[in-house]
């Protein structure tokens, strides 16, 4: 009994830490899918791209993965701006965003993955940093820094984005475009430009999310797929575009996955997110914390 209580406590703690990290991976989709209504299913592939840039910075130049991912933010932002530009010109302005837009992002996901396979192969890659090995111990609870640091970095990222959305003009404009692009146009702001900036930010978040991903686990190109379901499950459960909801939903999912892999074995944990997503979609499509 004693043993299983320790196990339960540790599973809960690592679930919360994992959840914080899931929130960072999801936040980009909360912006693009939740607020801008752009179904960017390629987002996990950009997160993996972020893992690989952090990996290069770390293994070739010896930089800290998180610091290097912050330095690389502008590059990812520009990548996002470029992708949005193509998407806008090809699909949104033609009013043809649904099927072809989805296929476009599905193609991007696939291209990114295959390109990474061609360049880096399918070997697992990992990074080296002072906080990868050690753990803190509080009573019977282990706090591996490998999970704690990513969780804190993730929460900091989401906090910064929330501040940006609430207190700057552009951030408020992004929230406005999420509600009513036409009204924004009447206020003499260009919805296209605002969406471009927001989409750039969502891809930029993939840089940091990728760096924390490769700290938590070794990375190879095809693991992007495992994250598609998780990300959209969290995004839908969190109520599409609500940052607080995203964090909460991510932590719930993290705890459930951690309990599943502790008590039933890790091979079952991918089904948890997807099962949860299916149930959420069937029962309460507005999400646990949604208003719509």
């Amino acid at each position: 009994m004693d043993l299983s209580f320790d196990l339960l406590g540790n599973a809960l703690v690592s679930g919360v830490l994992l959840g914080g990290f899931y929130a960072a991976v999801t936040i980009g989709v909360s912006i693009s899918f939740g607020m801008l209504d752009i179904v960017n299913i390629a987002h996990p592939a950009f997160v993996i791209l972020g893992s690989y840039t952090a990996y290069i910075a770390n293994s070739v130049f010896g930089f800290d993965p998180i610091l290097s991912s912050i330095v690389l933010l502008p590059a990812f932002y520009l990548l996002g701006v470029a992708i949005y530009h193509v998407y806008d010109v090809s699909f949104e302005r033609r009013g043809d965003a649904s099927i072809r837009g989805l296929a476009f992002f599905f193609g991007l996901l696939f291209i990114t993955e295959v390109t990474l396979v061609l360049v880096f192969g399918v070997d697992y890659r990992l990074v080296d940093a002072p906080y990868v090995g050690p753990s803190l111990h509080i009573g019977v609870i282990d706090l591996p820094l490998r999970l704690l640091v990513p969780c804190l970095v993730s929460l900091a990222l989401i906090g910064a984005l929330q501040l940006f959305m609430s207190y700057t003009f552009i951030g408020r404009a992004v929230q406005a475009v999420a509600q009513d692009p036409m009204a924004l146009r009447l206020m003499a702001a260009d919805p296209s430009r605002i969406k471009r900036i927001a989409f750039g930010l969502s891809i930029a978040s993939a840089s940091i999310a990728g760096a924390v991903l490769i700290i938590i686990q070794p990375v190879e190109p095809s693991i992007a797929r495992d994250y598609i379901g998780r990300i959209f499950a969290i995004c839908v459960m969190g109520g599409l575009g609500s940052f607080g909801g995203t964090v909460l939903a991510a932590m719930i999912l993290g705890i459930m996955e951690s309990l599943t892999s502790t008590f039933y074995g890790p091979s079952w944990s991918p089904a948890v997110a997807f099962g949860f997503l299916l149930i959420t979609l069937a029962v309460r499509p507005a999400g646990l914390f949604g208003r719509r």
Partner: protein, 309 residues
Amino acid sequence: MVNVRFLLLALVAAALTFAVARLIDNAYVFFAGYVVLQYIVLATAWNILGGYTGYVNFGTAAFFALGAYTTVVLHKTVPVLPLPAMMLVGGLISGVIGLGMGYLTLRLRGTFFSIATLAMAVVAQTLITNWNFVGGSRGAYIIRPAESPIFPGDYIQYLFVVMLLLSVISVAIARAIQHSRLGYGFSAIRDDELAAEASGVPTLRLKLIATALSGGLMGMAGAPLPYYVTYLDPASGFSLSYAVNTIAMPLIGGTATWLGPVIGAVLLGTLQQVATVTISSALSLLLVGLLLVGFVIAAPKGIMGWFAR
């Protein structure tokens, strides 16, 4: 009447295809041809839901692999069952799964349906990976019989003929739907679902028909797979490349008619077979991705769109 004539013509074309393949008399032709035919079935099946009603299914691999694993189970339990019967069972199971899946999600916006199909593929893969009877993550071995059971020749020729007939059937179904009340109902859903609903089109029922039919055909296409590959593991059965290919082919060929997916499947399927042999399989997949993105940006109506003008 027109449908009967089309079916006869298609059967003649199929017989010609088989005769030519026999003349070349090289086993590789049958192995490569089987894959192209399989993609004709998958692309046509995808298009019944994706092209006609506008609901994007990312879960092709799930329906396909369910059909394949049905065969693995049947092969272990009732090995005397002939392949066409196994395909019917596989198609039935995938069709019922498609129906249930559609019932859960089709009342939502189209995007959610797409995400849910992706989710379903992973749930199904996890279940199969953890199911030891069909080999779990280790995979299952199936011994391919040496001889074709109905005519003299290798078993691969038999598989080729079975897939050829299935592709004729699915193309005939897709064509018949396109010119029927059902097809007009599907297009109404694609163009404006709310307006269709308001004009009395039973949208949910039509969407469920499309999902079940599309899923069933995908399952039937997957059922002979274990005999083709002789070793089936979850990672290859549920491979994302099936989903990418079945979306790319109709979109490249053109989604509005039955002919588009066939053209897309023949072109892209052949191209991939050639590229896999001459360059590498990873590069040939990259090619599919690039073509998909290129076509959706530059040629929204696919190859068929070039001739329609």
